[in-house]
Symmetry: C2
Subunit: 175 residues, 2 copies
């Protein structure tokens, strides 16, 4: 798929076929996550890759109602920030670096024909604490987002949300 | 360019040819920014598009030493969060939504043959206040990141930074 088309045609996919995602695809998705920029090149993230059905269900339990797609997903990836690696003068750049990694992974999956939906975790601290406890994370590793992946079930997913160009959001030279 | 290749070959480009970026390309970059997911589909961002040389220099002044590439860039885009549109139960998702938009724009530019570098603004509050004052932003619009764009000058840019797969950052099923 052409790169610009991939960016423009990505939508949140919440219904999946009962079809596993192979190790080669998982590796490509992770490599894409690691190829984004990060503040001062600190690469201040970590990833927990989950394919066990029971664990995916428990991740869904910990991530609020919108996380239901995880229960049918073939793969879940918890993107985390690593506060020990974060840029010390402004460590909160980890939030941006994690988002870059996550978006790269979602786009890479789309390019591989794999659907995904982004399930927000940080800054909803109950979800953050829930994922950290479930996955036994050390103190310096902070849950950022859960991504659910699976081959799309076109029969089940609803229409994509609006992605129109919003001229009101664009200002030229100054506000 | 193929989508996966675009993700993997993107690097930060800091040296540019003296060549303008046309309106069609600017529009495509902005559309890419608006096509990412956002928390609860709030689309809580805004963009200030700058091509005026003096304004680009003043944006560089307000964004610290790493912002020097702006002084030669053909285009700068200030990505902002819009706190009035943000998801009210957890408004700080605006930080993630802005990062998604920015990474989409950088990847779209790369696909168009345009180089870019991400210049961190938020959460370095001196930079945030500087951009807000310079661009006359309303109170609810928060500077997130400055992106510098230009056609790459291959004679001047140094070698790309390391993007290796880091096995230590990947955990399977649990930490």
């Amino acid at each position: 798929m052409e790169a610009y088309e991939a960016i423009m045609t990505r939508t949140s996919v919440r219904s999946y076929l009962d079809r596993p995602i192979g190790d080669a695809e998982v590796r490509k998705i992770l490599e894409a996550g690691m190829s984004g920029p990060s503040c001062a090149n600190r690469r201040d993230w970590s990833f927990v890759v989950v394919r066990d059905r029971e664990m995916l269900n428990r991740m869904a339990d910990a991530n609020g109602r919108p996380a239901a797609p995880l229960r049918k997903a073939a793969l879940g990836i918890l993107v985390c920030g690593d506060l020990q690696k974060a840029f010390q003068p402004a460590p909160d750049y980890w939030i941006i670096d994690g988002a870059i990694a996550a978006q790269n992974m979602i786009l890479a999956a789309h390019a591989l024909g794999i659907g995904a939906v982004w399930l927000g975790t940080y800054p909803q601290m109950e979800r953050v604490r829930g994922q950290a406890a479930l996955l036994n994370l050390p103190e310096h590793i902070v849950p950022h987002s859960v991504l659910a992946f699976g081959y799309p079930d076109p029969a089940e997913d609803g229409p994509a949300r609006e992605k129109a160009y919003e001229a009101d959001c664009v200002h030229f030279e100054t506000w």
